[in-house]
Each structure stands twice: as C-alpha cells, then as structure tokens.
C-alpha cells in the first residue's frame, strides 16, 4: 500500500458522508487527488461502521461476507436522499478498492494481535477457500494492483471485486452490463499482468 493511501485510510471519519458522495466521485474522476482521498475515507468509515454494527447486532465475533457487506452498503447509501450516485458500477469499483484496504488492515491487525482484532471478514459461502490471509502476500498483490490501476483501471477493479470481495463473474458482468465471457477474459488478462509483476518481484 502506498504511504499516501495508508495515510488517508487512517483518517477515519475525517469526511462526513453527508458531504455528498456523488460530488466526491465526480471530482475524483476528474483526477482531483484530495477528492479521491476524501471519497475513500468516507467509504472506509461507512464500511467499517457497517461491519461494526453487524458485529454488535450478532453479539459476538462475527463472520461476514464481503459481498453482502458491499451490497448492503450500496442499498444503504443509495436509499439516502443526498447521495445520488452516478451509477452502481462506479460505487462498487470504489468500494471494492476500499474493501481491499480493510481486508489488508485486518490481516495486519490479526497477525499483530493474534486474534485480538476488531472484526473478521470471512466468507461462509466460499468454504473451499484455501489460503489464510497472509499480510505480506496480500500487500504485494495490492501494490501490483495499484500499478495495474494506473495502466488499466477497469482490470484492477475487476480484481478487487473478484479476488478481494468474492463477487462471481456473473455478478460483475451484471454490474458492468458486460457479458460474463468478457469479464472472464479481462480477468485472465489481469491475472497475466499480476503474475508477471509478482514473479519479477520475486526474482529481484
């Protein structure tokens, strides 16, 4: 994770959500970097808050599907009068990237505190999932993704949605109004890029 990114992720709640997400998104898309930061910390605060509420509601350390969390976040925000999003696809794109940050933060916390962390993000529908989250490995993937985002933002978003958030090809296709085959092809392309990036890293 870039230093600047870590910086804004730590500024929880610095920007209140009422400051109108849609205008933040609009500004972020014109490349305004302070708006991008503000947008991400707003989303981070929202998602983190939701995860905590979920935890409180269930009354114990909780497992929580990331997919569910994002869908809920969207429904929740879309139902507010002040936050009219340009569209759901872009919301998911941003939120998924924020989610990546949350997951890595979480992995880091867990490794540091040996299960003393705040909440756990796990998936109960993907029980065949193998790897326990290794913080350094995840961090490397995340850095490579940031690089990919610079060349092809769409591909990087697909990886966030698929790998970090657990969305299926069908779901991503529906979000982007693309065919499932197109999504799958782009995913393969992204994998090629990342694989090359990470392997080169290892050989250094």
């Amino acid at each position: 994770m870039r230093e600047s990114q870590r910086h804004f992720l730590s500024r929880l709640g610095a920007v209140r959500l009422e400051s109108n997400l849609s205008s933040l998104i609009a500004a972020a898309e014109t490349g305004e970097s302070t708006a991008t930061e503000a947008l991400f910390s707003a989303l981070y605060a929202e998602l983190h808050g939701m995860a905590k509420r979920e935890l409180a509601r269930r009354g114990g350390p909780s497992t929580l599907s990331v997919t569910t969390l994002l869908h809920e976040a969207y429904l929740n925000m879309a139902s507010r009068d002040d936050a009219a999003f340009p569209d759901r696809a872009r919301f998911m794109g941003y939120a998924a990237r924020v989610m990546r940050g949350l997951i890595i933060d979480h992995a880091r916390n867990r490794q540091a505190q040996k299960r003393g962390g705040q909440f756990e993000i796990t998936s109960f529908e993907n029980e065949n999932v193998g790897h326990p989250a290794d913080e350094r490995e995840l961090q490397r993937i995340s850095d490579a993704l940031d690089e990919l985002g610079k060349v092809d933002r769409e591909l990087a978003e697909f990886v966030d949605l698929k790998f970090f958030c657990g969305f299926s090809f069908a779901e991503i296709a529906a979000m982007r109004s693309l065919s499932e085959r197109t999504v799958q092809r782009k995913w393969e392309k992204a994998r090629i890029y990342l694989h090359r990036e990470l392997r080169a890293d290892l050989q250094l």
Binding site: R57, S62, E72, E127, K150, F163, F164, S168, A200
Partner: protein, 671 residues
Amino acid sequence: MSTLSPENWSTLSPYLDKALTLSQEERERWLEALRTQNPDLAKQLQELLNEHQALRQEAFLETGPLMPLPNAGLAGQIIGAYRLVSRIGHGGMGTVWLAERSDGRFERKAAVKFLSAALIGHGGEERFKREGAILGRLSHPNTAELLDAGVTSTGQPYLVLEYIEGEPIDQYCEARRLDIRARIRLFLDVLGAVAHAHANLIIHRDIKPSNVLVSKDGSVKLLDFGIAKLLEGGGEQGTATLLTHESGSAFTPLFAAPEQLTNGVVTTATDVYELSVLLYLLMTGQYPVGSGAQSAADLVKSILEIEAPRASSVITSEGGMIAAQNRGSSPDKLQRQLRGDLDAIIRKGLRKQPSQRYITADALAEDLRRYLAGEPVIAQPESTWYRTKKFLVRRRWAVFSVASIVVALAAGLGTALWQAHIARRESRVATAMEGFLEDIFRANSSYQDDPVKARETTARQLLDIGARKIDQELVDVPEAKLRILDTLGTMYSDLGLGDEAVALRRKRVDLARSRYGKDSSEVAGALTDLGSALHQSSSVAEREGVLLEAKRTLDKQGDYNSRLRGALCIQLAQHYESSDLQKAVQYSRQGVDVYRKLSGEPMLAEALYEEALLLPMVGQSRQAEPLLKETIQVSAKLEGDPNVSLARYYAYLGQTQQDLTEFAAAEDSLR
C-alpha cells in the same frame, strides 16, 4: 523476464484480448500468422500466454484472502442420532450432508445442515434450540420435517431435516407439461403447507422453486420452513438475511417482497408475495420482474416501485410459444386462461403494500379454489361485498384458528375497501382499519420480544390484543371502529366467550349512539347484536330489555321490513322460547314474513327453522314438517347443496317425522 511497462502493456493488451477468445488450435494458427508480420510482438505474446498456462495450473489468485470454515472431512461423524454419509451441497447458509440413522433402529435418510456459528452468534444457542423445537412441532404432509436442531460440541449449529428426493416445482411442471389447472392444484398443496405454518405463526420468508420439491409420485414438499427466521440475530430481519441467502450465486432476489428489501416488518403477507411470484412463474414461465439479466440495483428498483406486467400480457404470440406448449395450450388460449381472474389473483398477491395482499396463504388458496370451481373470486373487486358476507356467515360454524381470525379481519377490511371504492369519503375508514389490522400483527409477530411466545400465540390471545387496542385506537374514525368492534365481537361469540363479546357489543352500542343518534337504525342494529351476545353471557337477564329497546327504535323509524327487523324478530323468538311460547311463535312468523319479502335472503332458512323448532312445543308438530321441508329447499337453493346447515335441517326433519310416528317417511330421511 521483466515487468511490463505501461507502453508495452497497451500495445499487447488488444492482442491478448484476441488471443483469449480463440481456441487452442485457432490461437496457434493466429500466432503463426503474426510471427511472419511482427516476430517480436508474437514472441512476447507467446511468453505471456505460456505464463497464462502456468498461472492457471497453480490456481493463481483463484481463492480470495478469506477464512475457510472448519467442516470439511466430516464423513462418518455422528450428529445426534445420525451418521454423516456424504456432502450433498453447500450454499449461502453452510454445508448440507446426507445422513442416516446411526442406531439402525429404522432406515431413514436425513439431510444435516451445518450453519456458520457466526450466523447465530454468541448466546444465541439457547434461542436456536428453542426455535428449532417449535419448528419441529410443525407437522404437515407437505412440509419437510425438521427432525432435530442442536449445536455440536465444537459449537457448530446444525439442523436435521427430512431428506427429500424430488425436483423443483417449476421444472417438474415444465417437464410434464402440466396444464394451468393441474399446476394450480399442485400449487394449492404448497399453499396448504404454508397456511398450516401461518396458523402456527411461522413465516417461511424464503419461498422459491428450490425450496418447493415435487417427488416422482407427485407429492409436494416444502423445505426450510422458518429457517430464515432461525438464522436471524435477535429478531432483526431484512437485507442482511436476504443477501446472505442469495449469495453464492448471483445477487438475484427474484422472490423477495418489497418489505424484505427495505427492512420492513415481515408478516404472513410476505410469504403471500413470494408465493405469488412462484405462481406467476408457474403460470407464465417468467418472473414478475422480467427474465433478462439485470443489475441488482435495477432489480431492487423493480421490486420496490414497478408494478409487474399482468401475467396474461407476458404471453405473446411469438415469445409465448414454448410456455404455451409446456402448458398443453396455444399462446392465444393460454392468454385467455390467464386473463381476468388469474391476473387479478396474482396482482393482488404481488401488491407492494402488504396489507393490500391476501393476508395469509389460506386466503390466496380460497380464491384459487373459487377460480377452479368457477365461482367469483375476491380479487375481483365487484364481488367483494357479497363474498365477504357469505364468508363471515360460513365461519360461524367453522373451527376457529388464528389464521381464520386474520382472514376474518382481512375480509372486514376488504369490505371497507370495497366501500371505499364506491364512496370516496370511506377511504379514510379503510386506511384506518388497515392500520389497526397491521398493529395487531405487529404486536404479535416480529416486535414481540420473545419469538417463542409470539409463535405460541393462540387465537384467543390475538383477539385479546385487538380488544385491548381498540379502546384507544381509531378515535377519530368511528365508522372503522364500529366495524372492528363488530368483527371482534362476532369472533368472541364464535369462540364461546360470551362475556367478552358482550363487553365489545356494549361499546359498539355506545359508539353508535354518539355517532348516529339514539334513535338511528345503526343503534337498533348494535342493540340486536348485543341482545344476541347476551344470550351466551352471564348477563342474560338484560337480554329482553335490550331487544325491546331495539324494537322500539325500529318502530320509531317505521322500519318493519328490513333485514335488521327480520334478525331482531328471530332474536326475540329465541328469547321468548323459555318464557312465553305464544310470543315466540308470533315473532318467528314475523321473521319469516319479513325474509320472504326480501327475496333471495338466505336467512329465510334460519327463520323457517326457528318457527319449525317452536311449533311442536305448542302442539303443532304436524305444521313443522312442511316448514322444515321448505327450510331445506331454501337453504339448498341459496347456500348450495351440500352446505354446513343442511345437516342440521335434515337431522331435525328426521326427528320430527319420527315424533309423528310416520315411520316410513322417517326412515327415508334418516337413512
């Protein structure tokens, strides 16, 4: 090997797109051609594609950074009385195992569902077990039984369910090309199972084809009853549960009711909505929100805001060919079959407002049965008034359950809504009644702190909630309050709770007096009803005074020929039966006369019967016989043959004839 520079990547990217759409063979040829034009590019591409092969082998990035559930490799383990055999599936809720009884006492297959411990949370285990026990008592031939529910020693909650072999109801119907009527008959079995659960205040919340299986012999089994509720922490509901259940596959809450997406109150009407989506699917082969791929946001929007197209309208002559064939019909014919009653029934079930739907599965089933029998359906507004009346009268002899109370209240509401239809000013009344009805539900289902208590609510308790609330409620809508008091009073009487009925009837008289004036026909009606209720109460001594006051009021109004006058005459006849037989007979004759003039009045049968009961007591047994024969004739004509009253009439006719020692005739009637 080096990383890719941005320039490099943007050059290669479109070629990768192309390569990834080609088959292995095509790709070889394509690369070959490229090599002659641009050998350098071809070489780089080849490298990347080789790398692709390798990364696929190592399943690069295929599994996300997520935690596994610790329940692989459970085969052979013993859970309760069952031994796990093999894993048969996993979904949003956890994994499902096929199991068999471990004690070998009898052969029985079961499905064991393991749920994520997190779904019930800490301290939720007790509640989980208690709720499981309640669901376990839900026994119905069309419901897959919940055999056991518990938590393993490692803290994993599980459910043991009857194992059902069958196919989803929609596939079953399509594969066998069942026609519309056969589909409705099958669907009625589903409704029976849901109605049974509703009568026990259990709501399914997740009705969809994969939860409604049909076995080879054609019997329907509903799965996962109340399990959605079981999984909720502390009585909360809504999107979280819904999405959790749908996750694993695409986000397609095709069966979700609007209130499930908005965190609204989930009631029996929620199941009615889901059932109606299923009915729509069975009838048309399509979903009410359409069949095309949609984004989740669009789906949510259609569920919340857009009224579904009428079922008949989605069967077009071009597109409806397959649907029609699978229903043994042609597009034209299928469209005609759906138009009208079925359109209306489905539309009523899919209303966005829960209170505008059928309130229970039972009510939906009643209407479908009427459709099959060719009778007018409630969903068609024209017939509401007549049907509601008949329904309430019929219910007097029916066994009372919670469901029937709910239906009776809803029917009363239907009346108000119908009246609102003809008189705008009445719409306030309808809205007020609707609100009251919802409040009773709310007091009793989701907002009840202890779900166990909520489920065990009896018909009596539900009525008491209504009776308690009515005092403070609807103060500014007396018309609605009068109707609710009437419905509640009738139901107390039907449960044999005379004193409670009298208390409500008295309130109704007072309210009618202040609203319409003491000499109004509304007051006379309320007094007559009070008189009727007093008969079964501890204040029976007041009955004569109350009935005579009703009579004076009608006399003042110059009303000698109304339905109300007839009802009052019968009440008076019944009252004087024990004190003054001559007066009793006189009043029963007046009642008969009044009803005769109102042609087509089913109460004529009751009036004739009353007179026939009295005549032998004044030594006129012989005159009773023709009256009873007329009673039977009128009843059969106006209420249908058979109907619930006919049995009583025939029995008494037989007894009368026996008394007259007309043995031959008596034998005939009693046979």
